[in-house]
């Protein structure tokens, strides 16, 4: 009860003070919002790329495109030899018509393209899916080397390298995001601590008086810590709002591309949003504690 009363007092004092110098405080809130926005943007990009990789690497496939007009026996023997390979889990034959269907399902905008071309441009293919645990670049290369010269095989395609590159890209995006976000978060701490320090200076007389009539240090500091907490929390909320808005705008453009990847782009999960807001609050609290540590309270 006593703690609740103290907290109620802290919040009341903090909000009065925030409102009293709202321009200055908007600066802190803005800095935090921007830094968390940047951090969140990188997180969003990274988690979308991650989604793609997860989707793709779940099935490492090697596709063998077949020579046009390949007769049954040659194809059957190719499928049989692939099935016998220790690294291969399953083999699927995709006929020319099936390939066309896939294309149509994937690119709805280009539905009429094959018709315009006059005939089905897609070759038939055999897709070999690797066994879990053997989806290494070495296995893929070995498989490709073993079968690319096989009769009936026109061309071999595999996506492992692509996945590796994507993984590197994700690591890069995460790294840059963490670095940039980290720097900006530090800027947020710095701004909040300076703005609060100015408030502390401006109200030093009052704080001294409070101490003289018996207020504890914690009681005098409390409102400032809550001020930082509110500033940081507001900054976090604003940044999540901005992220959502930016996401909605960009997602529409990205949708076409994401069809390619098999699903819609994703926003940050709820717990990450909560984490961003909580992070903002933490930044605010650290900022105000820093400024109080250096002041005479």
């Amino acid at each position: 009860m006593i703690i609740l009363r103290a907290l109620a007092y802290f919040f009341a004092e903090a909000s009065t003070s925030l409102w009293r110098s709202r321009l200055m405080n908007a600066l802190s809130v803005g800095t935090i919002a921007v830094s968390l926005f940047v951090l969140g943007a990188f997180l969003t990009i990274a988690s979308n790329l991650n989604e793609v990789v997860a989707r793709w690497s779940r099935k490492v496939q090697v596709t063998f495109y077949l020579t046009d007009g390949l007769e049954g026996p040659v194809r059957e023997s190719l499928v049989g030899r692939l099935k016998d390979d220790p690294a291969v889990e399953s083999v699927e034959v995709i006929s020319r018509d099936q390939a066309l269907e896939r294309f149509r399902a994937l690119f709805r905008d280009l539905q009429t393209l094959p018709d315009d071309l006059g005939e089905n441009p897609f070759p038939a293919s055999v897709e070999a899916t690797l066994r879990p645990g053997r989806e290494t670049p070495e296995e893929v290369k070995r498989l490709v080397a073993a079968f690319e010269k096989a009769p009936g095989v026109e061309e071999v395609q595999y996506d492992l390298l692509w996945i590796q590159r994507l993984s590197t890209a994700i690591r890069l995006v995460r790294g840059v995001g963490a670095l940039l976000g980290g720097i900006l978060v530090l800027a947020g701490v710095f701004t909040i601590s300076n703005v609060i320090r100015l408030t502390v200076y401006a109200r030093q007389d009052e704080l001294d008086i409070m101490r003289l009539v018996g207020a504890t240090r914690a009681y005098v500091k409390g409102p400032f810590v809550v001020e930082g907490l509110i500033q940081g929390g507001l900054g976090g909320l604003i940044s999540v709002g901005l992220l959502w808005a930016a996401f909605r705008v960009l997602a529409r453009d990205a949708l076409a591309a994401s069809d390619l990847l098999g699903r819609a782009v994703v926003f940050l999960p709820l717990d990450v949003c909560v984490f961003i807001v909580a992070g903002g609050m933490a930044v605010g609290v650290v900022g105000s504690l820093l400024s109080l540590g250096r002041s005479r309270v």
């Binding site: 009363r5 103290a6 409070m210 003289l212």
Partner: protein, 218 residues
């Protein structure tokens, strides 16, 4: 209530504000601390509620050695002492009712009770009709009475009043002295620093005279 043993206070190296002060103010006593300007009255009071530390010597307040208590116990000490500051020390962004209630607020007294008791304290100094005014909207004498109301609101065991009637007309000064006597009668030890000789004579209480930082009489 207050025991000082060979207390010295030097703010800077050249001069000392207090030298070799040894005195004893008993529990329940009402006494005056007097002396010319700069004699060290305010300094002595500051040592008692631990706004300042003595350069040498010991001070016991209510049996506790305030020169030796840790920082964390200072709030508790100050809450048991009511202080009327020479320069009032009111919170200028708060109404006078809030100023007086603040002492209870830091003790987490329920809001309703804070208001009730703060109103009563302001009424005792005749300012309840201005409770929503801010300190700077009041005259010096009115601010002084707010400071008095704040010092008394929590029934302190010790009241330290530094020139509490310096800005008051003789009638109001007399009223405040009567108020202090009532408080004293209820058990609070009262120490009033003043150079108002006339008032000291009229009251007929113990007088401790300071002169250039030393106890000259009492």
């Amino acid at each position: 209530m207050i025991q000082a043993f060979h207390v010295y206070k030097q703010y800077d190296r050249e001069s000392s504000a207090l030298s070799d002060i040894t005195l004893h103010i008993r529990k329940g006593e009402f006494c005056f601390l007097t002396g010319p300007s700069g004699a060290g009255k305010t300094t002595f009071l500051k040592l008692v509620f631990r706004e300042e530390l003595p350069s040498q010597g010991q001070i016991l307040v209510g049996g506790r050695n305030v020169t030796a208590i840790p920082d964390s116990q200072i709030p508790e000490l100050r809450r048991s002492i009511g202080v009327v500051f020479q320069d009032f020390k009111l919170l200028k962004r708060k109404t006078i009712l809030e100023n007086v209630a603040f002492v209870l607020r830091i003790l987490s007294v329920p809001a309703k009770e804070q208001r009730r008791r703060a109103f009563a304290a302001l009424k005792a100094v005749g300012l309840h009709h201005k409770m929503h005014a801010y300190p700077l909207q009041l005259s010096g004498g009115e601010q002084q009475r707010v400071a008095i109301a704040r010092a008394l609101i929590n029934d302190p065991m010790l009241l330290l009043a530094d020139e509490p009637t310096g800005n008051l007309d003789p009638e109001m000064a007399q009223e405040i002295m009567t108020l202090f006597q009532e408080v004293n009668a209820r058990g609070t030890t009262v120490v009033v620093a003043t150079h108002d000789r006339e008032m000291i004579q009229r009251m007929g209480k113990r007088v401790i005279g300071l002169e250039r930082g030393r106890v000259a009489s009492g």
